[in-house]
């Protein structure tokens, strides 16, 4: 028996995304192994690397120095093997998940180093609502399916110091000490490559010295955590505290703040007036405030609909310029000119016309099919004196808002929706909650807004009204509405929603026939 026979190559895969420096990272590891005198091989599927695709680098290091091998050459593989990987280095979290699901991470031997930030894939980004992959699944897999995992948002660590992610990952790799190379070998590799040596060496140290804690970042939807200040309670705040259950307070406080700023305190008071009957009914049905809170959230959004006045208000907000400067990374003394891309048309015009006149113009435009015509492009320099004045002028139209066409339309639509919610509460709180959620469809501008509104109306006609009038079996009604909503959000063309409504119609007629 050959004494060397049981020594096997240490296998490592780098899973990266094009443009993240996976290739350089692999070349550092190769150079470090070469410097230390170990046989090393790397290969890659760079494929369409610079074009945002997933890229894979696969390396093997044989942990016996070439000098001790007496001329023998290990046969090193070009493919990662299922159940045969010692180290998986993922520069993005979903890529770690992909490696796990491909069988390249196994609990008996794989050490997983992964940056927990997400780079969203196109399907996640282009979803009409929220198509993000559930990060919790990745955390669970990283915990349960590895021998050890070293997770952190390394990109954030790197970006905070203005250095590149791959150097930090190399440092982490060196610190876990599975490969036979020493810290000096890696630093030599960085030096030899001649690429931004100083900052890469600094990045390496950050990774090398990183302390791992089980600090799992909160993921998913942001929760409402508006701070309440009990001692300086105003009239509206007192109303929230006195009239509504504690479960709703955070959302409702946010709502009154938003609407006071959007319009005035009377408008915010109206908001609470509208919610009061909802809570009363929910309370009667032994609810704890879930429906009221969700209605409060959606109602605040619906009441602060985005008309020209609102957009101008947000674009001339006092903190906007600072926020933009920070976002684009402008330095202290660097002037920033902001140009806004606006393209107002008939919708925008009608939103500020008096109700009767606006209705007439809109009706005229609809009959002629002119809704999409007549938009004129505007590149508004909002940081110039005249540009800013224009925004402030539009924002100041707020005082006329209650008389505008758009306002009348929105308020009528809100009242109808709230009446449906109330009627739903009389039947089943789950049904009510689903009716509330449908408000999510109405968002955006122009065509997007029209499409959302029309989808909302379709669901109302085909599912909500049948459910409220007992033409649709009450047990399944909440699910039917939820499914229809998901269908409406699955494609902008409305194909799936059309299929779904056909199904619902069939079930409605069969219920009637029964």
């Amino acid at each position: 028996m050959n004494p060397l026979e049981d020594i096997r190559p240490i296998t490592l895969q780098v899973s990266a995304i094009g443009g993240e420096g996976g290739g350089v990272l692999a070349s550092w590891i190769v150079a470090a192994a070469q410097h230390a005198g170990y046989p090393v091989q790397s290969t890659s599927i760079p494929g369409v690397a610079q074009r945002t695709g997933a890229t894979i680098y696969y390396l093997e290091v044989f942990p016996v120095p070439i000098a001790n091998l007496n001329g023998k050459r290990p046969v090193l593989a070009l493919y990662p093997g299922v159940g045969d990987i010692d180290i998986m280095l993922a520069s993005e979290f979903a890529e770690a998940g992909r490696a796990i699901s491909n069988g390249f991470v196994t609990p008996d031997r794989t050490h997983l180093i992964a940056s927990t930030h997400r780079v969203y894939a196109i399907d996640e980004r282009s979803n009409m609502a929220d198509g993000r992959y559930d990060t919790d699944r990745l955390y669970t897999a990283a915990e349960e399916r590895t021998k050890a995992s070293y997770l952190a948002d390394y990109r954030q660590l790197a970006q905070a110091k203005g250095i590149s992610l791959n150097a930090v990952l190399l440092g982490v790799l060196a610190s876990i000490d599975i490969l036979p190379m020493t810290k000096a070998d890696y630093l030599f590799a960085i030096e030899q490559s001649g690429l931004a040596v100083g900052s890469n060496a600094q990045g390496f140290e950050i990774g090398f010295n990183h302390e791992f804690e089980k600090n799992r970042a909160a993921s998913g939807a942001t929760s409402v955590t508006a701070e309440t200040n009990e001692s300086s309670s105003s009239k509206l705040q007192s109303r929230v505290h006195d009239e509504f259950p504690i479960f709703c307070h955070a959302v409702l406080l946010e709502g009154i703040t938003r609407l006071s700023h959007y319009q005035d305190t009377d408008y915010a008071a109206q908001y609470l007036d509208r919610l009061a009957p909802i809570w009363k009914k929910e309370n009667d049905a032994d609810g704890f405030g879930e429906v009221t809170a969700e209605t409060g959230r959606q109602l605040a959004l619906r009441m602060s609909y985005e008309d020209v006045i609102r957009v101008a208000q947000l674009k001339s907000a006092p903190d906007r310029l600072e926020r933009i400067r920070e976002e684009v990374g402008a330095k202290q003394d660097e002037p920033v000119v902001v140009v806004d891309y606006l393209k107002p048309g008939i919708d925008e015009l009608c939103s500020i016309l008096p109700a009767t006149f606006g209705r007439w113009v809109m009706g005229f435009a609809e009959r002629r099919g002119w809704q999409d015509k007549g938009n004129f492009g505007l590149h508004l320099k909002s940081t110039t004196v005249t540009g800013y004045l224009q925004l402030r002028f539009l924002a100041s139209l707020k005082r006329w808002r209650r008389g505008t066409y758009r306002y009348t339309e929105e308020q009528a639509s809100i009242e109808t929706w709230l009446a449906d919610v109330e009627a739903g509460l009389d039947l089943d709180p789950h049904l009510a909650l689903e009716i509330v959620e449908c408000a999510r469809l109405i968002k955006g501008y122009g065509d997007t807004h029209r499409r959302g509104t029309s989808n909302f109306n379709i669901i109302r006609d085909k599912a909500i009204l049948p459910a409220l009038s007992n033409r649709l079996a009450i047990e399944g009604a909440a699910d039917v509405i939820a499914n229809a909503r998901a269908a409406a959000l699955s494609d902008p063309e409305g194909t799936r929603l059309a299929d779904m409504t056909e199904e619902i119609e069939n079930s409605v007629s069969s219920t009637v026939a029964d």
Binding site: T43, T52, A77, G103, I122, E124, M128, H379, D447
Partner: protein, 714 residues
């Protein structure tokens, strides 16, 4: 090309006693020099572009050795280059991506192989098959068989690859057959080392020219010579090749201690086989395998004696052959049948017929073989169970992760000038209804993937327009054809433009002009602004088109979406017949960034004024519908969790990679999406005027700004 390969060029100079470190394809390049080639040519394409890139930067070295390097117009011209070795004893090599490039080269190759060669002729093909491939899935093997060319598929480690390049020339000379060296993607990119040799001075070259012209009718592809050439292949060339292969041990036998079974494997997948054997406990880390293995570094022609000798006395032999049809398995069966050897050949019955042999496929295939044919003495039950457990274990993973990890399909880069073209097409389709798009090869093919899903057929490089000729007359509206500038020069100007014009076809052609063959790594084109020495070039697509008599010709800046929509609308609706061409002009953004980044850095260092443009989204204005992403797909236009506690859907967000091309803003403008986008112009090294103006504006704005009310005052 904007990238420099000077460092790699230096490694090509090393000689005896030195060790070469580098990627497989670079090792091949070095081996060509060691073999004394007189000329090298090719057409770029992954995974062999690197060979071309490095040589085009190696001018002084090539001058010293007298080697001519030609950047060919396409693979057909590259294949034709090998004609130099038909009459004269000079060695040459060409390279391209296979199987697509071999398809284009087929005419030249057939004639070359029929004529036969005097000097060694080598074709280095990147076998772009399996994971990471960007083309149709076929084998190069069929070409070797039909035209009688030797096919070399070396073990994927640098010493063997390099040795096989050198042998390929000798084999070609010994047999008068051209040789093909086939390297898979991973082998092209494998990083390793080998003991280098000195570069060889070719006998004849630019430095020592061939003195006399030779005329030999037997080498002209014209009947009756073609009849005798075919006979010569059978009677002389193939036997000579087989003789050379066996005499020089080009194929390798590694003996094991299990007499009953054996494996015959293509050289290129030997390492994957050995790793699987190791996982079954049948091999160590050095390739000492208990089961005898015949490694075919040459997969065509096979040496019948060698095959028979290996199989005689064995009950069963596994043939590990990637791809389909199973040429090797059929040939080996035929050889054994003719020699009346009764060894059972196992191949595609335990391996899948189609697809790459990854480690997983290999494990399962070997598993299938051992389960059925492992002799009694060989206890593999434990190993089989262990491997079974590995695969069943993956069900548990699926439960945690679900079936749908987000797919990361390739897309256009940040700031790519091709994205706005397809945004414009989408916007036009919204108006005029869906169009049939006859797509082409290039980065623009990615338009067929999300978010655009544009492009109904892809028929080959440069064939976008040609592939609409049959459909267009029977289609209810004009068909739009796409062609890149790469495809235009490769063949599209004749196969597409000249043909459509000559036939008087009523067609719309969109030429995507970005100045490089970007998809293969930014090689230069005849219409690139400058040649590789930085000198201005004077070849233009527009002038060719005018020369062809195209009257309806519009050149539009790619980023001008609104103008592009208007022009497309016009092209689709104008009563004018004939070919209508729109040239979408915009430099490849990656190449541009690589060019201007150092210039900007220098300007900033010198304290000169510079305006950086970036785009952004006002997250409180964005309502999270993501229409902008569906119409743009820019990698830097992404999403982030909304910081608005009332909104649950993520909002659009422009990240720091933004290069300020403005497509996102233009799209939302042209498609009337929303007012969320803004452009920020950051003035770096501002002058006194900038500073003054800034101070004034800032002061004014802060006076006019409304004051935020606090919650407490409500």
């Amino acid at each position: 090309m904007e990238r420099s390969f000077k460092k790699e060029v230096e490694t090509l100079r090393i000689g005896n006693g030195e060790t070469f470190h580098g990627e497989g394809i670079l090792g091949v390049t070095k081996a060509l020099l060691q073999s004394g080639v007189s000329y090298v040519g090719g057409y770029q394409g992954a995974p062999v572009s690197h060979l071309m890139d490095v040589l085009s930067d190696a001018e002084p070295l090539l001058d010293e050795l007298g080697i001519h390097f030609e950047v060919c117009a396409n693979e057909a011209s590259a294949a034709a280059m090998l004609a130099a070795s038909v009459n004269y004893p000079i060695r040459g090599a060409v390279t391209w991506k296979s199987v697509v490039g071999t398809n284009v080269a087929a005419d030249g190759l057939s004639n070359l192989a029929s004529a036969g060669v005097k000097g060694g002729a080598l074709i280095v093909v990147g076998e772009d098959y399996g994971e990471g491939s960007s083309i149709i899935q076929e084998r190069t093997h069929a070409y070797a068989m039909k035209s009688a060319m030797c096919l070399i598929d070396p073990r994927p480690e640098l010493p063997t690859i390099v040795r096989m390049v050198e042998e390929a020339f000798r084999l070609s000379e010994a047999s008068n057959m051209p040789s093909i060296l086939e390297l898979r993607i991973r082998a092209c990119h494998v990083y390793g080392h080998f003991d280098a040799k000195d570069n060889a001075n070719p006998q004849f070259s630019r430095n020592n020219r061939i003195p006399n012209a030779e005329f030999d009718f037997s080498r002209v592809c014209l009947p009756p010579a073609t009849y005798s050439q075919e006979k010569h292949k059978i009677e002389h060339r193939l036997p000579a090749a087989v003789r050379y292969i066996t005499e020089h041990n080009l194929n390798e036998v590694f003996d094991g201690d299990v007499p009953e079974i054996g494996v015959i494997v293509q050289g290129g997948i030997y390492n994957t086989l050995m790793r699987a054997m190791r996982q079954f406990g049948l091999a160590d880390s050095y390739g000492n395998c208990r089961i005898s293995t015949l490694v075919l570094n040459v997969t065509y022609p096979l040496a019948p004696e060698e095959i028979a000798k290996f199989c005689i006395g064995k009950d069963a032999v596994l043939v590990v052959e990637e791809g389909q049809p199973e040429f090797l398995e059929q040939a080996i069966n035929a050889i054994l049948r003719r020699k009346d050897v009764n060894t059972k050949i196992v191949g595609k019955d335990v391996f899948p017929m189609a697809g790459e042999y990854t480690s997983e496929v290999m494990l399962k295939g070997v598993h299938g073989f051992l389960s059925n044919y492992a002799p009694y003495g060989l206890n593999v039950d434990d190993a089989l169970q262990r491997i079974d457990a590995l695969f069943s274990d993956r069900e548990g993973v699926r439960e945690i992760l679900g079936d749908s990890l987000p797919l990361r399909t390739p897309s256009f880069c940040t700031g790519c000038p091709e994205r706005p073209i397809f945004s414009a097409l989408k916007i036009m389709e919204k108006e005029l209804g869906e169009a049939h798009i006859s797509a082409d090869i290039g980065c623009h093919t990615f338009a067929a993937l999300p978010p655009f899903n544009v492009g109904n057929t892809v028929m080959g490089y440069g064939l976008g327009l040609a592939s609409s000729a049959g459909l267009a007359p029977s289609f209810h509206k004009r068909v739009i054809s796409i062609m890149g500038d790469g495809g235009f020069w490769h063949n599209g100007m004749s196969s597409g433009v000249a043909a459509a014009q000559a036939n008087g076809n009523d067609a719309v052609l969109l030429v995507v002009k970005n100045g490089y063959t970007s998809a293969t790594g930014w090689q230069l084109l005849p219409s690139s602004l400058r040649d590789r020495y930085g000198k201005k070039r004077d070849m233009s697509i527009e002038r060719v088109l005018r020369g062809f008599g195209i009257r309806w010709l519009k050149v539009i800046r790619s980023y001008s979406i609104a103008r592009m929509v208007k022009t497309l609308r016009k092209a689709m609706t104008t009563p004018e017949g004939g070919l209508k061409v729109i040239v979408a002009d915009g430099e490849c953004q990656l190449a541009r960034q690589r060019r201007i980044r150092p210039e900007i850095a220098k300007r900033l260092k010198d304290g000169k004024r510079d305006v950086r443009t970036r785009f952004g989204v006002d997250e409180d204005v964005c309502t999270g519908d993501h229409s902008c992403i569906r119409l743009s797909g820019c990698p830097s236009l992404t999403i982030k969790p909304s910081s608005d506690p009332l909104r649950t859907d993520p909002v659009a967000h422009v990240n720091n990679d933004c290069v300020g091309c403005g497509v996102c803003g233009e799209v939302s403008h042209a498609a009337v999406l929303c007012p969320s986008f803004f452009e920020a112009r950051i003035v770096r090294n501002p002058n006194t005027m900038d500073k003054l103006l800034w101070k004034l504006r800032r002061g004014f704005i802060s006076i006019l700004s409304p004051k935020m009310k606090s919650v407490a005052s409500l």
